[in-house]
């Protein structure tokens, strides 16, 4: 089980959380102006990165806040978590905060 550091509550067990998938996917402001291809891209296509990946988490059985996390998907190690609205930190693997 992973330990997830909630920006509000600190390190907590993974079962208190729900993972919300890839972060920083902005909903198009005017969907009707998008082509089918662009809409499919927004709806279905995901980075699915092997390595550093930004994703959304919700502390569902805790403070119930959404936040973002940078995690290395090859090792499952969390690099950093940050609040919604903050910019994705510029970090590469090897700089993990232990």
């Amino acid at each position: 089980m992973l330990l997830v550091t909630c920006p509000y509550c600190g390190p907590r067990p993974e079962i208190e959380f729900r993972c919300g998938g890839e972060a920083h996917i902005a909903r198009p402001a005017e969907p009707s102006k998008l082509s089918d291809k662009e809409w499919a891209e927004f709806l279905f296509v995901r980075t699915n990165a092997k390595g550093v990946f930004a994703e959304r988490w919700n502390h569902a059985h805790g403070c119930q806040r959404w936040f973002n996390a940078l995690r290395d998907t090859a090792s499952d190690r969390f690099i950093q978590t940050y609040k919604v609205g903050e910019k994705r930190p510029d970090r590469t693997p090897g700089q993990e905060r232990l």
Binding site: R46, K50, T73, D76
Partner: protein
């Protein structure tokens, strides 16, 4: 290829089994091939086998970054069934099941396909209605599936607890008698041996590090850890790593890769005659010929390539199994592992062409790829050889996510995803 038979077995028995030899070569990669398959799992090897056998393409190679059958082929719970709801799915899984039935003879290799029956338990009114709908839909598609009462289910699988006092009582079950299990490694090995015999190069420890494209955009070859290999056709069959490989050709995929876990118990005498699946409480269980209970757990909630998963996922499944089969509470679990499954938004696979000329992809089998191995390889070989999808594979294009013509097995509710 030396054919296996009772005669060869007797001959080897008198020779202390010293003469079996290697069943496939370990060739150096050639400068170029007519087609290259990326991924030496069951699906990739089956693709190569049918390309060579049915389409006469023998100057081809299978590139595997580890060892063949070492990914999801060697990590799954070996369940075979074809009772999917939608016509398109039923067609492809039934195509595979028909190939499974004759596969040992076809390959002259015992893949230990055992039609012991796959029973899916219904625990609530919704399950009952949904499973009955599946039974009727399957019959219309010529796929065997039948409805059992709890008592009939108990008769088919005696260890089952059908007490009405359970948290999730058994209200009935859907049974596909032709469903069952096969030996996962043997499937990879059998296809590898058959393909190798027809001249296919199976190159292990050879990781694809890049896909080279020409000025026209068409593929020219693959960069690998063992050098550049020229080829006009690339078939990507890389399961959990599909997004990673496709990204090298500049193609973004509608996929997410999740860890899926399985575990086995200590071996015991035969106690469990069939495969039992319960989607409501999330448990899969069967007994291998070695005697181990083979148990499939769920996927973790996050994208990962780590080939492991959270222990709470496995314990959740064990909780459910102990409730359904109280006699297993005192068994010890031996091994627990994970594989990386590539999941599409509609939980159906993607088989076909890509926007890049010469690049083909077969992926998105999610948690249920093993059962499709022969059918998947068969239709994908056709797609690569002809440059056009096999009729059975035609609905499973990547383009369906643009057109909206989804094959929404995720919403069909009786497949465990």
């Amino acid at each position: 290829m030396r054919r296996f038979s009772l005669l060869t077995l007797l001959k080897e028995a008198t020779n202390a089994h010293q003469g079996w030899g290697r069943q496939w070569r370990a060739p150096e990669p050639k400068v170029g091939y007519d087609a290259v398959i990326v991924g030496g799992g069951g699906h990739g090897l089956a693709t190569a086998y049918y390309l060579a056998k049915e389409h006469g393409m023998r100057n081809i190679a299978v590139l595997e970054k580890g060892w063949i059958g070492g990914g999801n082929t060697g990590r799954n719970t070996t369940i075979i069934r074809s009772n999917y709801l939608y016509d398109e799915s039923a067609a492809i899984y039934e195509h595979a099941l028909k190939l499974w039935e004759g596969l040992s003879q076809e390959l002259n290799y015992n893949v230990m396909y055992s039609a012991r029956g796959v029973m899916m338990l219904a625990h609530n009114v919704h399950d009952v209605q949904s499973f009955k709908r599946h039974v009727y839909a399957n019959r219309l598609n010529g796929v065997d599936n039948e409805w059992l009462t709890p008592e009939e289910a108990k008769e088919f699988c005696p260890p089952l607890n059908i007490s009405k006092r359970l948290r999730y009582p058994v209200m009935g079950a859907a049974l596909q008698r032709r469903g069952g299990t096969a030996r996962h490694d043997a499937v990879a090995w059998g296809y590898a041996r058959g393909a190798d015999a027809m001249g296919v190069d199976i190159i292990q420890n050879c990781e694809v590090t890049g896909i080279r494209r020409g000025l026209s955009g068409a593929v020219e070859g693959v960069e690998t850890t063992r050098g550049f290999i020229r080829t006009p056709r690339i078939g990507v069959v890389a399961a959990g790593h599909t997004s990673v490989i496709m990204e090298k050709a500049g193609v973004r995929m509608p996929l997410e890769s999740f860890p899926l876990q399985a575990l086995v118990s200590e071996p015991v005498k035969p106690v469990f005659p069939c495969v039992v699946m319960s989607n409501a409480v999330h448990a899969y269980i069967s007994q291998s010929d070695k005697g181990e209970l083979v148990i499939g757990a769920g996927t973790d909630q996050y994208v990962s390539y780590s080939q492991q998963g959270g222990i709470h996922i496995a314990t959740h499944t064990l909780d459910a199994i102990c409730e359904l089969f109280p006699q297993f509470t005192r068994m010890r679990m031996l091994r627990n592992w994970g594989g990386i499954v590539d999941v599409t938004p509609d939980r159906s696979p993607i088989i076909g062409k890509t926007p890049v000329q010469g690049l083909f992809v077969n992926c998105g089998w999610g948690t249920g790829g093993f059962k499709a191995t022969p059918g998947s390889g068969h239709v994908f070989a056709h797609t690569i050889a002809k440059g056009e999808p096999h009729p059975i594979a035609a609905p499973f294009t990547m383009d369906r996510f643009r057109t909206g013509r989804l094959i929404d097995e995720a919403a069909a509710a009786a497949v465990a995803h």
